[in-house]
Symmetry: D3
Amino acid sequence: MMELTNAQRAQILIEALPNIQEYTGKIIVIKYGGNAMKNEELKRAVMGDLVLLSLIGVRVVLVHGGGPEITDMLARVGKKSEFVDGLRVTDAESIEIVQMVLAGKVNKSLVGLIGEAGGRAIGLCGLDGKMIEAKPMDERLGFVGDITSVNITPITDLLEKGYIPVVSTVGCDDKGNVYNINADTAASAIAGKLKAESLLTMTDIAGLMRDTSDPSTLISKLNVSEVPQLISEGVISGGMIPKVECCVEAIRRGVSKVFVIDGRVPHSILIELLTDEGLGTMFLGG
Amino acid sequence: MMELTNAQRAQILIEALPNIQEYTGKIIVIKYGGNAMKNEELKRAVMGDLVLLSLIGVRVVLVHGGGPEITDMLARVGKKSEFVDGLRVTDAESIEIVQMVLAGKVNKSLVGLIGEAGGRAIGLCGLDGKMIEAKPMDERLGFVGDITSVNITPITDLLEKGYIPVVSTVGCDDKGNVYNINADTAASAIAGKLKAESLLTMTDIAGLMRDTSDPSTLISKLNVSEVPQLISEGVISGGMIPKVECCVEAIRRGVSKVFVIDGRVPHSILIELLTDEGLGTMFLGG
Amino acid sequence: MMELTNAQRAQILIEALPNIQEYTGKIIVIKYGGNAMKNEELKRAVMGDLVLLSLIGVRVVLVHGGGPEITDMLARVGKKSEFVDGLRVTDAESIEIVQMVLAGKVNKSLVGLIGEAGGRAIGLCGLDGKMIEAKPMDERLGFVGDITSVNITPITDLLEKGYIPVVSTVGCDDKGNVYNINADTAASAIAGKLKAESLLTMTDIAGLMRDTSDPSTLISKLNVSEVPQLISEGVISGGMIPKVECCVEAIRRGVSKVFVIDGRVPHSILIELLTDEGLGTMFLGG
Amino acid sequence: MMELTNAQRAQILIEALPNIQEYTGKIIVIKYGGNAMKNEELKRAVMGDLVLLSLIGVRVVLVHGGGPEITDMLARVGKKSEFVDGLRVTDAESIEIVQMVLAGKVNKSLVGLIGEAGGRAIGLCGLDGKMIEAKPMDERLGFVGDITSVNITPITDLLEKGYIPVVSTVGCDDKGNVYNINADTAASAIAGKLKAESLLTMTDIAGLMRDTSDPSTLISKLNVSEVPQLISEGVISGGMIPKVECCVEAIRRGVSKVFVIDGRVPHSILIELLTDEGLGTMFLGG
Amino acid sequence: MMELTNAQRAQILIEALPNIQEYTGKIIVIKYGGNAMKNEELKRAVMGDLVLLSLIGVRVVLVHGGGPEITDMLARVGKKSEFVDGLRVTDAESIEIVQMVLAGKVNKSLVGLIGEAGGRAIGLCGLDGKMIEAKPMDERLGFVGDITSVNITPITDLLEKGYIPVVSTVGCDDKGNVYNINADTAASAIAGKLKAESLLTMTDIAGLMRDTSDPSTLISKLNVSEVPQLISEGVISGGMIPKVECCVEAIRRGVSKVFVIDGRVPHSILIELLTDEGLGTMFLGG
Amino acid sequence: MMELTNAQRAQILIEALPNIQEYTGKIIVIKYGGNAMKNEELKRAVMGDLVLLSLIGVRVVLVHGGGPEITDMLARVGKKSEFVDGLRVTDAESIEIVQMVLAGKVNKSLVGLIGEAGGRAIGLCGLDGKMIEAKPMDERLGFVGDITSVNITPITDLLEKGYIPVVSTVGCDDKGNVYNINADTAASAIAGKLKAESLLTMTDIAGLMRDTSDPSTLISKLNVSEVPQLISEGVISGGMIPKVECCVEAIRRGVSKVFVIDGRVPHSILIELLTDEGLGTMFLGG
């Protein structure tokens, strides 16, 4: 605990008041991934943030991926991965591992951590209540899926009952096939369908920067209409392009504000939502 | 604002989490009076505390007195006060002034301040919904009343609708007479009837101290069964005796914890409820 | 009690049946003022009417002024009033008295009388739940306000919980200033926002009359479109002009029927609503 | 309409206020029969009473018989009645007529009259929702039944939806047999099961009188414990004995007050419930 | 019971699953008449079907006629019928018999049979809750009515409380007159107002057939736009014309599917709704 | 599909009616395991049964194990199992596999199958909403757990929202440790806490038999008080002893009826619940 008087602590709580007022009763979708999901301390900080938000009346939905854990497990069962256009070919044996790792290990462990932090979570995957329906993205990739529809009822039902829904992004089709779905895409689709107040995407960067070597060039606020220009200028490039496109898509589907935040900073969620000055880049609609 | 990083601010919010969990959904009655009601800055700090607590799901009830304002107004209309056993004789003309000042000026001004701080309050007096019924305490005192019954429905109705009920302690009988009721007594009776989690009495002392000149002798926790001994030892004396008796009475009526807190400290309510270490004296049942 | 057989009494109850059916479940706003508020007997008759209406399922809202009581109290504290265009200049000291008298004395005393008559009332002013927001009407007048917005939630919340809301018409702005609001104007704005079935304005006249010396010239029913003509003819004149304008405004905001009734007649409210033949003047929309 | 001023009419409504307050929200069962059911004017007066009571929040249940109509119809189809101990032997052909007359003619006609008077009624018989289960009272009597159980759910379901349930007292067993049930007995059983506030039995007498030729000997109030004595004294005799026994039984089952009222007086129900002085005999528990 | 193993029984339940899913929660109106209402075995089969449907979550409404019972009863009271254009002249004496037979005998007996089969029914006629309002169809016919308005609240109120409403089709006007209403017309109007999923009309034919002597010419499915052609071809003729017009009318009022089914086949309702292949003729909108 | 006429199919549905009536609205817990979980056809039959039951208003909870899948997966990652007293020693690495296989593979695949069969399921494990809390059973066994408390809120919340909760039996403690819990034990504890109407345990035997080689010695009904005798006689022996003890325990905790049914028979659940004659052994309380 910091060396602060109780009076100072109270003062800080009071200063958070207008921000709490802004978010209370609203739905916030958090796309969880990157370092914030690997480092144990960051992980616990995130869970604490979720529980605090939930307690002060914010309706929190957590959407997570789990690439590294999948890679580990495939390795343990001696499965070698082939890649097409940078995407892993996912055969029947692999998708079973993907489902198991995402919905059984990563998802339920997050649920457990939220429980330890004093919150009430239930872990869902796209099979629960037929939440995420999908079809093959590309025949060569096997069970890698594109979302065909999102049914948010299981999420809203759990929010109504006071739970934090934790969502792992495997989908299914009506023949019983399971698909691995990109978590950024799924988070964007879910946030859009929920007409969430905000979508926060946790990344391993400080936000969009005009010059990545110069933190002072951080773009704090961005209209989605400016994105194509920033891509053409190379400010948004590489792996950030699809992430940013998910942000843009979420805005188009009716999310009010989308944030790319720095998951490497402890409590980056609370800092973004409950303090006056945000950390990363906020996308707004035009 | 304090010179703290946002990360430190988030950390402090997180550290308040277990305390928030303890109070969320619970009813807290605050007996407001003394310096915290005179000093403008302290007043605004109290209103901020109430709004924050209300926002994080604590159900707050504010009960206030208003002795100094009554004295002022009686003076302005040229009314001289007579006293019997230290209690002001309250004739028909005076009780009208008392009702006007408490229910019209003090009460509604507090309601207004809560509104400015972003909260939603409604001001009640004992006449609203026949909340406080009373009878004359002593014929010589005129319209000074003893409570005969408390009907908490108006308070619980407002809590259900999300308001902070602000209560001024005038009562009535079924003949239409109005009585001035001691605010400590009324707060204790209301908290008891509500089976409140806590009653916080704001005073102008740091708490009960074995030696008032030595802050290190503060009694942080006290079983109500120890009170008679402390009175006989003179640790509790003078004007604190009736205040402490109201605390004891509240515990007897089913309030879990009763606090005497130092209203001269800004944000003493938040400090007591949301930080690890309290400020004043806590009474517990045996 | 009248010398009637019980059978006759039952017969009269039965004859009121169609009128009761017309109003049950509907919202009725009563602007209370004039003699009906000064004479003790008339006062009790009004309270009885409200309680009866409330009991048979009419949702009653009482809006009151209190000019004479304000004048009295200002006199008692030795405050002299200045006037501009017939409106009292209200300085900071005066508005405090206005708030105290209206919200503390008049309002809560009416609440008490309703309680004595067997009803359940709660007294509100414009500060409660930020119900009436206002701005200065004219700089020369000080704290005399024009309504900028009406938030009827506190009223509908109380109606839902079964209370008779009693409203005193002081308003506030977001800087904490309090304003004296004309009660006719406030009643009209509140009735309009509530989409009330009826607004009844109690006055000290028998209704609009073409010739005030001849009761047979009473105008029983009036389309609001006829008002300008009646003003130009001098049938509506003096203090009745702003009152009638409030009636017209209420109709424009969606109130179905507006009545000017004679507050000097005991039970004029019941007579207007529950007997076949009304007393005063009814305004209807075109 | 009576020659009364509107002010007098309002005054009378006001005088009914305390009585309305006493009954609002309470369940009242009315056993309807005798002259009040034969005379068209009395009939309409009863329906008006029911609708008024219903409108002011009393939850009214009407239970009726229909002896004379049954006798008429049996005669029309050329059916001669045999009697055992004063009770009509009811064979299979007769019970069909009984059901048809009670549930189809009398019941639905009453429902229609309530509708005309502005109320909302639904007609039930003991077959609806298996409300009244019965067994043969005496083999010699055929389909004359004793109640074996009362299921009040259909009645409370209709009360909740705002209807006046009108009940004709035929019962059934689980083999599909239908039975004619005495209406006084059924009303008593239903009122008891509903824990009704009051049961009013409409008769063709002014109430119990010590000397039937002297109206001044009317017994206004009676403790059920006094009944055996009155029977042995002959004050209660003949056909009144079973009626009074039903009253006593209702009190034993938890009805607060049972009244024998004079159905020949128009509006006797309203007079009993809404005016200060009752008409007939009130039974109370000891 | 059929000679089937339990496994085969379970298999058959499972095969009904998709059909159950299609109808669960939907409203089905059944127009009951013809042989299915005369033959005791068929009658019990129908009641069983209703109770099963109700139990698996279908919201069933039964509308019935009763021509033969009316004819019988009129004969028993020695009433001779006159006919105009094939419709019985219904005088005041006759309509009383009609009401009694339909609402008292047929209706309540069906309610009783549903009760015996384990269901919960309440019998309504057009007088209950002023459900069916009517006017004379033709002065020469007396109390034969055309529907002027249908108020479905009594039906939806009973469905909400879990009952099967059983409706006999007598109507009323606001002067207290009662009218005999054609049951096919009433069923069509009620189904339309309820926006029912299906209306099933039970008849004594196998469905519409191009050649009534050749079952293979059964028309299984029909667009209502084809009806005029079929009438002009004589495929629909005689008494089937008004029945088919009611079917067409129901589709026009918003019923999704209307069926003419063969009431002579036991369990024709279940067969139509819960097995893959229907029995009669289905009408669909264009 | 069987060669049956539609009439016969309808007849069979009707014959299931009394059994449907018995279970509608009741909670049924199914302990799923053995062959019924391995054979694809049996699996689909079970899912069909669950969906049918759910559709006709039975509130179904599925509790499953997954021993064979765990063994497979441990083998695939090259993990050798050690055994103590016949129970697998479960180290940290193994429990991770157990959680992954049960909560991620088996559980979610069942959820998917229910979805395909037209039902709505959500998969839970003991971590969700802290549903199953556990402690080590025996230090030598590692993360094999004994239940310390069951919190059924997540199950009842999902039942209320219309889902079939599918439960995999891993538990947790408040330090974040995960435990493998015996599925029979968990099903018994959950059924007891839910006060379920029935618990059905699917096994690979036809039921309890006095002579396992003679099907005619099947014990159809058993009072739990007879169990000790049957154990001592060797009728219940080996692996059936703990299974039967779970059945006895469920009865003690308030489940009305517990069944051991033959999971090798397709649709054994429906046969047990919806046909007249059960298949296996029913345990009842004394």
